[in-house]
Amino acid sequence: MSFVEYGDIIKDGDTAIVFLGHDSMFPVKVQHGSVTQTKYGVIRHSTDLIGKKYGSKVTCSKGGWVFILHPTPELWTMNLPHRTQILYSTDISIITMMLELKPGSIVCESGTGSGSLSHALIRTVAPTGHLYTVEFHQQRAEKAREEFREHGVEHLVTVTNQDVCKNGFGVSNIADAVFLDIPSPWEAIGHAKSALKAEGGRICSFSPCIEQVQRTCLAMEEYGFTEINTLEILLRVYNVRTISLQIPDLGKAAEDNSSTVFDSSNPSNQGSLCTNLQQGTVQFKSGVPLREMVGHTGYLTFATKS
């Protein structure tokens, strides 16, 4: 396995994702002789995992079972150990597309944080691109390096431990794109500009507060960035449910009642509706929003250097 290449068989040293049920999974480092406890029982790595195919169903000691999945940046994002607040796949998707990243792109990022975005960036720019990521917190930088090594992507990333606002990215005129997720991005815009290629490139800054965005936009304008655009993206997830609604008793005769309901509800939506005459209910499938409230992650400000 590697985060940048699919493998079929689980091997010693791999990072695999144990899938217990919807939204319930965790990463595991596969090692000979090692065991993992789950609520369905014990998984013995040597016999249960190594040599099996990714995507297999593994039966645990208590008779329960789990699926073992090949790691992807998205699964990693859902399961990684948090050292900081992280970016989720919804924001990552739009960042990747708006920064125009593709194999071969050179990207600068700061800060590295928990490495959620880093893994996605590496995936996209591999095999010929490179990620230069700057983290001013020494312990986090060290931990990120270790993870990249474990995940078989260390050749695609350089982690630098310094303050991006003071010392920049440690590279100049080589980047196709720059991403900033720091408290004061406006202090790093100058460094971002010098990190970008002379012929131009794209920049993105992620900030939770509008005041930060305000100052960032002013700084971008000052440094001659064009196409400045701020947006926000929200994810809505739906639960698929079969809902049944009761037919009200309006005092009509039984036969009459059922036929009118049937007629009025069916022509438009024949397949998905079904009337249960005995119980006096109408059943249908619905996508029900998971939560009532959509959260706010941050504003994304994009711009072009040309």
Binding site: V4, Y6, E74, A126, G200, L235
Partner: protein, 450 residues
Amino acid sequence: RKIIFEKQWFYLDNAIGHTYGTTFEVTSGGNLQPKQEVEETTAETKEAGTDNRNIVDDGKSQKLTHDDIKALKDKGIKGQEIVQQLIENSTTFRDKTEFAQDKYIKKKKKKYEAVITIVKPSTRILSTMYYAREPGKINHLRYDTLAQMLTLGNIRAGNKMIVMETCAGLVLGAVMERMGGYGSIIQMYPGGGPVRAATSCFGFPKLFFDNLHEFPLSKVDSLLSGTFSTETLPSEPEDNALAEESNGLTEEKQISLQETEEESTTETAMEINQTEEQDTMDINAEDVELKENKEKQNKDNVREKQRKQWERRKKLIETAALLREKNADGLIVASKFHPTPLLLALLEFVAPSRPFVVYCQYKEPLLECYTKLRERGGVINLKLSETWLRNYQVLPDRSHPKLTMSGGGGYLLSGITVVLDKGKSDSSNLEGLKMEEPSSKRCKVQDLHC
């Protein structure tokens, strides 16, 4: 070549040799290259009102008449100067607030100072453009939704992807961009051939097309049941071709209608492409050549066609072999068709532990698809989702959301394949039960994640 864009017409000849991102001003016919940044006319009398209590809309604030303005335009006066004239002749301009003055100037500039920036094609540019200009052609797939598809599908170099789309080739192009010519793509197409109008706008190098395969959707069933043979379909036109040889010209027309359905679609695709090009302002001289070639080809002999037929069949056999391995690294579906049958069939070609993403403009077909996939089994982590996109205006003291785009961006159903159990119904039941866990528990799990 003459090109029309936003009620202006111009030739692109002058734009050659400049870097991408260069801004041009349109003169009568050709392109003129002005400076990157025009010095703002900040020599304005910084005189401004504080509110609009005395501003009356009497329709007489602008002292220049419609004819005056037209006269200025006809004289070929620079747009910048016209704007200046408009400001000077506006009686209310000085009474307006600073912000309103700013807004007034911006509006007039937009109208009179026609500038055009030429940019490099990318998924970002093309998907934004298609959504704004031709949403019908791409099934209203909004660009942020496309971005989600690429991420959820783990699209990257080295993959073997299956793509089924009727989005003018935009989704295909986006996948190709992310794969950078590494790995392979099998495009499943309905009808006579794949549509790649948008794909050609990307200007991919030839190398990217080496590992791009196509396979007719109508052959999927026979491929799955093992009755697929290459003799069935493509041999037919060959017979026609033979007949044509003896019967002469009259038949030729018929044949080009029947047999080269594929060619005709690509041809129309190219015509579309040309109009698109005008939008992106990106010329691709090759296309013109290709079209000329096509015209010549009509007169060309039948041998050429036969050879093409044979080549096409060879490619078809190769693609079928690729599919038969059933080890694809992912499936992307974004079409005008009902997604359920597509998914149930095409998932057979995907290896276990691989992501798949289905786009649909409507939620209801995906609800059904969700249920059918649960019944089938072999998939986990099914998720039905939608994204909302909100753009902001960020200006000093004037920051606010611009517009909300909801609903119109379509819906996604994504998941991960797993090894299909032998006791199929049994496992799907269990899996189904698991899914029906009360929502309160689900919320808890999510809270833990945050």
